[in-house]
């Protein structure tokens, strides 16, 4: 096997040193009846040459998927990834290191994550950020748990029906067992009805959870929602599309207390849903209640400034069952990608990307809603994604689009039980800066049946 060093001679030498006569002897303390004998039922090992063609063949079986021009959204987007991101992320010094426990052997990663935290604060307008969580959905759940700790209200949270249905599912998975009630406020008009939301908040509510741009792509009335939450002593927890912040006001400016995001749009490939990047940042006062790793600066023995894992007393390896989260391995390499991405774009690049998405999306909405079988589902402002109502079978729609070379969606029937019946025939359409006017025109043509 190509990764082993030990030759038979060496093996014998090592066994002699240890003082046993065979490798088998090293396992002699495992009770015999517990041993697995024979070979596992696994496929026979293959060389790099053989697997190369096997895996290329598998990739080719998916190619009819990736060769579709992508108007798919729903939390994962086909954004452009500058090549410098890959160039950095493929450096072994980063991707084959682990959590920077030994600061002196990890100043590279540590500084990167410190820069990541700063960039996330700059992006979201928040005071402190951790060094990453698993992905956008669990980040939102961690924020809810954190809000419960901050407010010491453990019995109820309120979440908008316009939040990503999978995020809402994760909330249930986590909170059900803790006996925390999750009140979902429907968003029948594509955004929350602030009055309805206010009514469902009470002084037992830990937090109000909002996504904006929301699952349908629309902007929520963040300021009003913040006011409503804060009036009841609840925190406002948000989830945001990071690209939208090239144009839109920051969570920090909109009264958000804990801001989260799915970081996938920041230079991370779609890779069938993960690994992605859970972003979480909050106001300074909640710092020590934050989940996850955090990097800080300090000075060393010689007075030189450097970086370390900080506030470890919150974490599982020290606080154990009292920790702010159980997370250990986080998403370091993706935080690195986001760091490089944000650095490459800078303020102007991010604005340009956001504008291009927004303008093309509006162009697409115009073109598609002009077609006989479509109408815009909700008359609400949107950023790069919008919901269409299709007069027909939405499955049929996806198929037809695919045959013409386009992927559009998701359709809402993918999320049974998560939306009102009236929304069954909705389909989302997302437009990133990678799309072009020509592609949109061709899409419109393909859907004009």
């Amino acid at each position: 096997m190509s990764y082993l060093f030990t030759t038979p001679d060496q093996q014998q030498e090592m066994l002699n040193t240890i003082g046993v006569s065979s490798v088998e002897d090293l396992f002699s303390h495992i009770p015999d009846e517990l041993r697995f004998r024979g070979d596992l039922n696994l496929p026979v090992g293959k060389t790099e040459l053989e697997l190369e063609s096997e895996i290329r063949a598998i990739a080719n079986r998916n190619r009819n998927g990736t060769e579709l021009t992508c108007f798919l959204g729903g939390g994962v987007y086909d954004h452009f990834i500058p090549s410098a991101v890959d160039e950095i992320a493929q450096r072994g010094e980063y991707y084959t290191a682990y959590t920077p426990y030994q600061a002196e052997a990890s100043q590279g990663s540590l500084q990167v994550f410190f820069e990541y935290q700063t960039l996330i604060c700059e992006l979201l307008g928040m005071d402190v950020s951790n060094a990453s969580l698993y992905e956008g959905g669990t980040a939102l759940v961690e924020a809810a748990l954190m809000a419960m700790r901050v407010t010491r209200r453990h019995r109820k949270i309120v979440v908008l029906g316009s939040v990503h249905p999978e995020y809402r599912e994760i909330l249930s998975t986590y909170l059900e067992q803790l006996g925390c009630e999750i009140v979902v406020v429907p968003a029948l008009e594509g955004v929350a009805d602030v009055n309805l939301v206010s009514d469902s908040l009470d002084d037992q509510t830990a937090c109000l959870i909002v996504q904006s741009p929301n699952f349908f792509g629309h902007l929520e009335s963040m300021a009003e929602l913040a006011e409503a939450a804060h009036q009841k002593g609840a925190l406002l927890v948000s989830s945001t599309d990071p690209i939208s912040l090239g144009l839109l006001k920051q969570p920090g400016d909109l009264g958000v207390d804990i801001a989260t995001a799915e970081g996938q749009p920041l230079g991370i490939p779609m890779q069938y849903g993960g690994p992605f990047l859970g972003i979480l940042a909050c106001r300074e006062e909640y710092m020590r209640k934050m989940p996850g790793r955090v990097i800080g600066t300090t000075s060393d023995r010689l007075g030189n400034s450097c970086f370390v894992l900080n506030l470890q007393a919150r974490e599982q390896h020290i606080r154990r069952d009292k920790a702010t989260s159980n997370i250990c391995t986080n998403q370091g390499l993706l935080a690195l990608r986001a760091t490089v991405y944000l650095t490459l774009l800078g303020p102007q690049g991010l604005r340009e990307a956001a504008e291009r998405c927004c303008r093309l999306a509006h162009y697409a909405a115009e073109r598609l809603t002009a077609l006989p079988n479509f109408e815009q589902a909700f008359d609400q402002p949107f950023f790069k994604e919008f919901a269409l109502r299709y007069r027909g079978d939405v499955r049929d729609l996806s198929r037809r689009a695919a045959e013409a070379g386009f992927a559009i969606g998701p359709t809402l029937d993918r999320f049974p039980g998560q939306f009102d019946e009236s929304m069954r025939s909705l389909v989302l359409c997302a437009v990133t800066e990678k799309r072009t006017v020509e592609e949109i025109d061709r899409l419109a043509e393909a859907l004009s049946f």
Binding site: F5, G65, T66, T96, C328, T329, R359, S398
Partner: protein, 489 residues
């Protein structure tokens, strides 16, 4: 020869007006943004990100990278982390078009290749575990623990049982109690015995009909195989509880013994460890779980099923188990890491997989043998794939701590072992060489440790001496946390 300028903070390299990535105009004609979006929603300026050029970015991050130790550059015997070699073919295959660029909402008929791979991964993990049902959802080991505990909770709830307790030995990794707490259980900790193993008598005394799950790492965190595991399992099952195997140390037992066969009901894998993820400077990981058949209906979904076959080919589809606890995360899982694990298993096959564990255990025992005459080994003089030594004696006699040794190793060109874990061993150095290291490297490492043990304590207390920084002040860091850069006022 270090480029100090390039490794300033990226914010310090910023100058207004500098650019790297640009985007073309949308080309849809001029139109005010306020026609598209409400003015109240628009920011006046974009976020205050740094402004740098592409050459800035490259020099900055490339130079920073050289301040890291990593598996690609150094021996990295970080105990409990399985810092094995990360095959380069995995990186190539994981980034092939048709793999890296799949949107998770593509319809199933267009991603049969991906689904087939994930299905096969489920099957292989089930086989290695000796447990029939697998969910690939969890993003890392801790996430897998939580997923399994929630699965167990759902199972008990479904049976109408009220079980509130999760038990684990003191040597358990911090994620075990933390996961139990998040899953809403009460935590009960056992002392471990002198031998380093679970104290069965104490365990018995804690078991009752409130016991939900006993979590145990096997081989455990001091590097020993819990030889009483069958008995432990029997005891748990007797009271109606379940046994959870923390699979962080699976690298010791692949094809040697299987959690399902030695009495585990549930387990997680750390694909980034055992199946060479890689570790990505702290993730991403993947923490799939495997469970017994009676737990399958509660597993988090989606799970890939192979359904009949149309025109001779299998058809793969996503399903949710009928009584599923629901999602643990959005989308399918940390596919990029699962893929690398898949590539690894396809490369190794049954023989290779077993060779991995045999060699990992051989390497660890060999290294242990080379160290035990001058470093105290609290538990047994054989080990599985890793072992824990204690610097307690050196500490008392000469004032040399585990940390001093760890730091000094960096000067010798080795990454440090895990220190101060498990908590049950004072001045612990937890050493996991992995199978992808040569005898020559182990010899050099042992020689370095031997030399260090004889070095001047004061010199050691100031180590490392060859790195950019030495001995950061953690206390000051925690007292006045500075967690981001702010521009000088």
């Amino acid at each position: 020869m270090r480029n100090q300028q390039a490794t300033q903070l990226i914010f310090e390299l910023s100058l207004p007006g500098r650019r790297a990535t640009r985007f073309p105009d949308a080309g849809v004609g001029p139109r005010n943004l306020t026609d598209l979006l409400p003015a109240s929603a628009l920011a006046e300026t974009p976020p205050p990100l740094p402004e740098v050029t592409e050459p800035d970015v490259i020099r900055h991050f490339v130079n920073l990278s050289t301040l890291n130790m990593s598996v690609d550059t150094h021996f990295y015997p970080l105990g409990s982390c399985t810092m094995k070699y990360n095959p380069k073919r995995h990186e190539r295959w994981a980034s092939l078009p048709g793999i890296v660029d799949l949107h998770p909402y593509l319809s199933e008929d267009r991603i049969q290749g991906m689904l087939a791979v994930m299905y096969e991964m489920q099957e292989m993990l089930a086989e290695i575990a000796g447990l029939p049902a697998v969910s690939l959802q969890p993003a890392a080991g801790a996430h897998g623990e939580l997923a399994a505990l929630l699965t167990a909770a759902a199972y008990f709830r479904d049976r109408g049982e009220q079980r509130t307790k999760v038990i684990f030995p003191a040597s358990a990794h911090g994620t075990n109690p933390a996961s139990a707490a998040i899953a809403g259980f009460d935590c009960v900790q056992l002392e471990i015995s002198k031998t380093g193993l679970v104290n069965i008598e104490q365990l018995k005394s804690k078991l009752d009909h409130e016991t939900a799950v006993f979590m145990i790492t096997n081989p455990n965190t001091v590097g020993l195989f819990e030889r009483d595991i069958a008995e432990i399992s029997r005891l748990l099952h007797e009271v109606g509880g379940l046994v959870y195997i923390d699979g962080a140390n699976m690298n010791a037992i692949l094809g040697i013994t299987r959690p399902g066969d030695f009495g585990g009901d549930m387990m997680h894998y750390n694909v980034h460890k055992t199946f060479t993820g890689p570790h990505g400077a702290g993730g991403p990981g993947a923490g799939p779980i495997a469970v017994r058949d009676f737990l399958e209906p509660y597993l988090p979904g989606p799970i890939v099923k192979r359904a009949g076959h149309a025109d001779g080919e299998f058809v793969y589809s996503l399903v949710n188990p009928e009584k599923s606890i629901g999602r643990m995360r959005s989308f399918f899982g940390n596919v990029g890491i699962l893929l690398r694990g898949y590539f690894y298993l396809k490369t190794l096959g049954a023989r290779g997989v077993r060779e991995v564990s045999e060699t990992a255990v051989l390497n660890a025992n060999y290294l242990l043998e080379k160290l035990k005459d001058f470093l105290y080994v609290p538990h047994g003089d054989r080990c599985m794939h890793e072992f824990v030594v204690s610097a307690k004696e050196l500490q008392t006699k000469r004032g040399i701590s585990a940390m001093d040794i760890a730091k000094r190793l960096l000067d010798y060109g080795f990454h440090a072992p895990t220190v101060y874990f498990p908590l049950v061993v004072p001045e612990a150095l937890m050493i996991e060489p992995t199978e992808t290291e040569s005898k020559e490297t182990l010899d050099a490492f042992a020689a370095a440790l031997r030399q260090i043990a004889g070095e001047d304590p004061e010199f050691l207390q100031q180590a490392p001496h060859s790195t950019k920084n030495s001995r950061p002040d953690d206390v000051a860091a925690a007292r006045h946390p500075v967690l981001k850069w702010t521009s000088a006022p």
